[in-house]
Structures are given as C-alpha cells and as structure tokens.
Amino acid sequence: MSGNEPWFDDLIGELKKPVTENARAKAKIMEKVREMPSRRPARRGDTLLTFLEWLVRGRTVTVSPLAVTVCALIVVAGAIAVGRLMTRPHEPFPGGALSKYGTHVVGRDEAVRLAHATKPGESLVNFVLIAPGASRVTVIGDFNNWDAGATPLQQESESGLWTVIVPLPAGRHEYAFLVDGEWWLPDPSAPRAPKDDFDRVNSIMLIEG
C-alpha cells in the first residue's frame, strides 16, 4: 500500500477508473457548439478598443532608484534648456544683417550699384518689411502725402521680404506700412513716433542733411 489514509486511496481508485463516454451526449454537445456564432473578423474599432484597454490597464513597474534619478535629471535639464531658449536675447536684425532686413538709408556704394536716380540733397531709403503671407504691402508717409497706393513694396522671392527704394530729402519723415490694404503697421526696425492723434503708431525716419 501507499501508506496514505484509506479514504484517500479510495478516492484515487475512483478517479483512476476509465470514463465511459456517452456517445449521444457528446453528439449533442458538438451540435450546440456548431450552432454557436462564429467569431467575427476584427474591425478597426476593435483595434482601437484593444489599444485603449492596453493603455488604461494597470501594471506594476519595477524601476531602480538610479533610473528614477536619471529620468528626473533629464526632465530638469530639458526644462532649463527650454527656459533659456525662450528668454534668450532676441535679435531680430543681428549685426550686419540690419541693412538687409531693416529699413535703412542706402550707403554710397549701394546707391552706385543700384544706379537709382536722386536729386541733389536727397538720399535713397530702402524700406524693408518682413511679412510672409502678405499679398500687398505699401509704405505710406509724409513723403507721398499719405497716399495708400503711391509706394508699393516688391516681394523678393517667396521669402516674405518686401522692399522698395525711395529717394527722400533730408529731414524727419513719418510713415507706416499698410499690409494687404487692411493692416496699419509701424516699421519694426525704426524709431516710433508717439501714438498719434488718430490712435495709430507711426515710425520716424531721420535723414541727415
């Protein structure tokens, strides 16, 4: 004998007896199984649902303290880098680029190169505005009697850089840009006049005599 309790040996004996298969019952069960609806093919909604279930299913993650520290340091360094990037001095017209991206009085060499006609006592002024997406830009000021259509700027390629060269006499000139016939805009690269009597801000151009 096995040395077990007698009731235990009886139980094992019963379990070891061969099972007599009831063929009728088996056929009935198989019939019911066949009648059950077959599994429908996976649809897009099912995939999304599965993904959402996977997303919200709780898990236990094991992370070492070192890994947590490294991750925290990366996050802090990233935040500092973004902060510095956002607060660094903004230079819209860095150094020598001013003459290209800002309104300026054309120098003698450039004037010769442009061969632009001027009267004695006049200087050439290159009005520049960066306005990508604009379809029309004009400069309006006391030098063209504030005529909105008198001095259109030309777009240089598709860069959004609009320019026009205008001969102006020495002195103080007040002006602004009109973008798309709708937006009144002071020159970003020029000194501002105080907000005028008509609640708009103009720019000032001072040309030495």
Partner: protein, 221 residues
C-alpha cells in the same frame, strides 16, 4: 480678416513676435471743404510764425488716410500747431524744421518744455566743446519720443538723452543706442534700467541707475 483668415493670423503672429500691434486700416476719404479751409488758415499762421507749415497739411492728410472724422482732423492739426509753438518757444528761433517737428513729437510723448530747454542747453555745451559740431537735436528728440513709447519713464528718458547729448554722442551712435534698448526691452529687460545701462556706456558721466540726481525744487523735468 474674413477674406484671408490664415494670412491675417500669420501676420498677426509675426507682428506679435516683433512686439508690434497692427491696426486695421479704415478707408480714407478726401478732406472736407471746411477742414481744408481750417487747415489752410492754420498753415498761414504757422508760416507767419516761421513754423514748418507743411507738417500741418501732412497731419491732415494722414488723418484722412486713417479714416478720421473731419472734426478729429481739425483738432489734431490744431494740437500739432500748438505743440510746434511750444517747441519753438523752448528751442528758440534758430531751431531747424526737423528739430521743431521732432521736439513737437517729444512734447506729445509727454516731455515738457523744460526738458526740451535742457536738451537745448546740452547742445550749447556740446558746441562749446566742439565749435565745428553742427549736429541738430532732431535725433535726440526722435530717440526720446521712442524711449517713452517703449515705457521708459519720461524723467529717465529725458535724463538719459540729455546725458547722451552732453557727451556729444553722434547721430549713428544714438540710433544704435535706441536699437539696443529696444532689443533689451523685447528680451524682457526693465525699460528704464536698460536705457540707463546702455546710455552709461556712451556717456560715463551719467550716474548709475537708481542714483539719478534728485530733482531740484521747481525743476519740472
């Protein structure tokens, strides 16, 4: 805005980044007869007082282009004539037209006539040191008005610009100074502090920021 919403949005974003506030233009209209007559009379007065009369007509045309009412235009032209008178009184009869118009702009920005007179005195100091120097005060007035429009307090802006004039800072340098201050302000600097710090590099005689000389009794600077 409705026609090209995306373009307008893009432009607004760019202007916002540059610290500008674009205003919507209104359709201009020709000046009315009454306004034309009033402006002509004021121009006659200006000529008689040796003031730059053409500036008045330009102001009227500007108002017209900006869609202002005739009454608003007449008021603006009258106010400009008064500012030109104040400027001439402070600067004297030898003031040039650009000096008068720029000083009128500074007055409009909030500088009082004693501030204008102090700049005139600084110019005299400059000429004493260098008799060949014929630089006008127009650049100083333009920069002064610009600083005030960028939230530099009137007192500080006046102090700084007077310091620059006394230090004989040239035309190009003073405009570069303005550009650098504007850049600082756009980067988040305190306007008054930036103006002072930048000015002291060009005019070391200016006292450090926060230790400006106390106002004298009766000094309305």
């Amino acid at each position: 805005m409705c026609r090209r919403p995306l373009t307008s949005l893009l432009l607004c974003c760019i202007f916002a980044v540059l610290g500008l506030s674009p205003c919507r233009a209104q359709p201009g209209k020709p000046l009315g007869d009454e306004t034309l007559e009033a402006v002509s009379l004021m121009m006659d007065s200006a000529r008689a007082e040796s003031l730059p009369a053409e500036t008045l007509m330009q102001k009227a045309l500007e108002g017209s282009t900006k869609g202002a009412t005739d009454q608003k235009i007449r008021e603006a032209v009258r106010a400009l004539l008064n500012r030109l008178r104040l400027a001439k009184k402070a600067l004297g009869s030898d003031a040039t037209p650009p000096e008068l118009t720029t000083a009128a702009g500074a007055i409009y920005a909030g500088v009082d006539t004693s501030g204008i007179r102090r700049l005139k005195e600084a110019q005299a100091v400059r000429k004493t040191g260098d008799p060949s120097n014929d630089q006008t005060l127009a650049a100083e007035f333009v920069v002064l008005a610009d600083l005030i429009s960028r939230n530099v307090p009137v007192d500080t802006a006046s102090q700084v610009v007077i310091g620059l004039a006394e230090a004989n800072v040239g035309f190009a340098e003073i405009f570069e100074f303005r550009r650098l201050v504007e850049q600082d302000i756009r980067s988040g600097a305190v306007p008054a502090e930036s103006a002072y710090r930048r000015a002291r590099r060009l005019a070391p005689s200016l006292p450090p920021f926060g230790r400006e000389p106390a106002r004298q009794p009766g000094d309305s600077r």
